[in-house]
């Protein structure tokens, strides 16, 4: 990185803080701060969905994993990930847009009661720590400036907190759009030179034919249990509070749906770029002597001209900031409007107090994220760890609340959450193997959570009438 690149980085980040400051003047009440007055246009929803999903863990983490998955990363992770999410875009997103008056715990409370809402809120808040994103920052800092991971992560976390505290959702969405643009254009622009530099696909196949032939087949680079777990993790998005918030903030039910449908094609194309880049890194470093995430950043920087390098670093760091500020905002909103609200005996905080609590929560999230982020060897390990806990707990009750219009009882919701979480913890501590392959706890936790929902649904109180009285749609 040259001085000019560093000046570009500094100027961009000053601009981002100014955007946050600008929106701080327009986000004075809860609806504008948390939901952007439910006025996000289609283009902004595409940008914010894209940037929030493809954070540091999405870009840097996918490259890292592709150094061992190879082509299977595309055929299983990429195609599978997006294919199972089509129902989310086509049917769930429009419903969220109409149905979601508040947050995800609100939805849980309306369908399963207060206890389920508290449990869900705690699980979502843990997910909002986004430790994998903080971990990804370290790799960027190490590769771009040879700087201490922790120091760079601390600076980026500080920026994320700044954007969250100042601009609310509209500030987050606008900065997301800028980061999304920089990240995709810079990462994709650098790719052809790297790709043809190793001789294209024939060069890759020749280089990896002996040391890692499994990487060159459509399904060979991923062991079956890991592949099954990845596919299941793909549906994790169905209970992702960031997507839930975006759909709820879209200016119409069709906006969220079509924004996400377009995102699938961008994600797929961008996945080809990141997965192939991971494979190229393996070609250049067959033994993986250097951390692949660090190699990736260094390689892209080497293949871009001055100024573009600075914009690339802004794009990558921006993608991380986008994800962090999104989850800090959601986590803060849930603490303020759900957890504190319920602890106060259903008494709302004032708009000002609620926003201030969210700001304090964002600072606490940042501190916890920094303290825990570098405990994982790879960025994706952190992502998978957190996703697994929350998924076994939330997936079944959230999907049932959104998609199933029949009887749903308080016992069903609570039972599915507790059974899912306890099963995941137990089988994570005491893993089981089939045919020598370790089975991930999530593969056991999800079906048992569903069974617990079905059994629990025979007992307890159905809250359908209460929802009708409250005017909840559907």
């Amino acid at each position: 990185m040259t001085i000019i690149d560093n000046i570009v980085v500094v100027l961009c980040f000053i601009g981002i803080m100014l955007i946050g400051y600008y929106f701080s003047k327009t986000s004075q009440d809860m609806d504008s701060f948390y939901k952007a007055n439910r006025a996000l246009p289609w283009s902004l929803v595409v940008g914010t969905l894209m940037a929030s999903w493809y954070g540091g863990a999405g870009v840097v983490g996918t490259v890292g994993y592709s150094t061992t998955m190879g082509f299977a990363g595309f055929f299983i992770w990429s195609i599978g990930a997006h294919a199972v999410r089509f129902p989310l875009a086509l049917w769930v997103a429009p419903k969220i847009s109409v149905k979601a008056k508040g947050t995800m715990p609100d939805l849980l409370r309306e369908h399963y009661g207060k206890f389920a809402a508290v449990l869900g809120a705690i699980a979502i808040v843990i997910t909002c720590l986004s430790i994998a994103e903080v971990g990804a920052v370290g790799y960027v800092g190490e590769a771009a400036w040879h700087a201490n991971k922790f120091v760079v992560a601390a600076i980026v976390v500080l920026f994320s907190i700044g954007v969250t505290c100042l601009g609310g959702l509209m500030g987050v969405a606008v900065t997301d759009m800028i980061f999304f643009f920089l990240m995709v254009t810079c990462v994709s622009s650098a790719f052809p030179k790297m790709f043809f530099g190793v001789g294209g696909l024939e060069g890759i196949k020749a280089a990896l034919a002996e040391p890692a032939p499994e990487m060159l087949t459509a399904f060979g680079g991923i062991p079956i249990p890991q592949a099954a777990m990845l596919i299941i993790l793909c549906i994790n998005l169905y209970k992702d509070p960031a997507f839930y918030q975006r759909f709820a903030a879209a200016n119409s039910p069709k906006t969220g749906k079509r924004a996400m449908l377009l995102c699938f094609s961008i994600w797929l194309s961008f996945d080809v770029v990141t997965i192939m880049t991971g494979t190229i890194i393996r070609v250049k470093d067959v033994a993986l002597a250097t951390q692949p995430e660090v190699s990736y950043i260094s390689m892209v920087i080497d293949n871009l001209p001055v100024v573009a390098r600075g914009l690339f670093v802004v794009g990558i760091l921006g993608a991380i900031i986008s994800t962090l500020d999104s989850y800090y905002l959601i986590g803060g909103e849930i603490i303020s409007n759900d957890i504190i609200y319920m602890l106060r005996g259903d008494k709302k905080l004032s708009d000002k107090a609620s926003i201030n609590v969210t700001r304090v929560a964002a600072i606490i999230f940042g501190i916890i994220g920094l303290a825990t982020a570098f405990k994982f060897d790879r960025v994706y390990d952190g992502l998978i760890f957190l996703n697994s806990i929350s998924m076994t707990l939330l997936f079944v009750p959230i999907i049932a609340a959104l998609m199933y219009e029949g009887r749903k009882t308080t016992v069903a919701g609570i039972a599915s959450m507790i059974v899912g979480a306890v099963t995941w913890i137990y089988f994570t501590l005491f893993p089981v193997s089939i045919g020598g392959e370790s089975i991930d706890a999530i593969l056991i936790g999800l079906p048992l959570s569903f069974i617990a929902f079905l059994i629990g649904n025979r007992f307890g109180k159905d809250l359908t009438e209460e929802r009708k009285k409250l005017g909840v749609k559907y």
Partner: protein, 84 residues
């Protein structure tokens, strides 16, 4: 049991309706076509598809969305959308 047989309102019907012969269907088809092309490119070593087309499409859609957003911001800034 609840009453799924209750008639849905027009708003609910509109929300759940998927326009298969329209924008929704076109976007789904775009994904399927791209998945097939990229898969074919990887398995048959077609460098153009992987080295040029995939990053090119990612950039083109991104630039188009960004420009669309810029025009919306510009419209708001010049007050076109505020007037009826």
């Amino acid at each position: 049991m609840a009453k799924p047989e209750e008639k849905k309102t027009e708003e609910e019907m509109q929300v759940e309706k998927v326009e298969w012969i329209g924008v929704d269907g076109a976007l789904v088809l775009l994904y399927i076509v791209l998945a097939c092309i990229y898969g074919y490119g990887i398995l048959n070593s077609v460098d153009f598809i992987i080295g040029i087309m995939a990053p090119g499409i990612a950039i083109c859609i991104t630039v188009a969305v960004f420009l669309k957003y810029c025009t919306e911001v510009f419209s708001f800034a010049t007050g076109k959308k505020g007037k009826k």
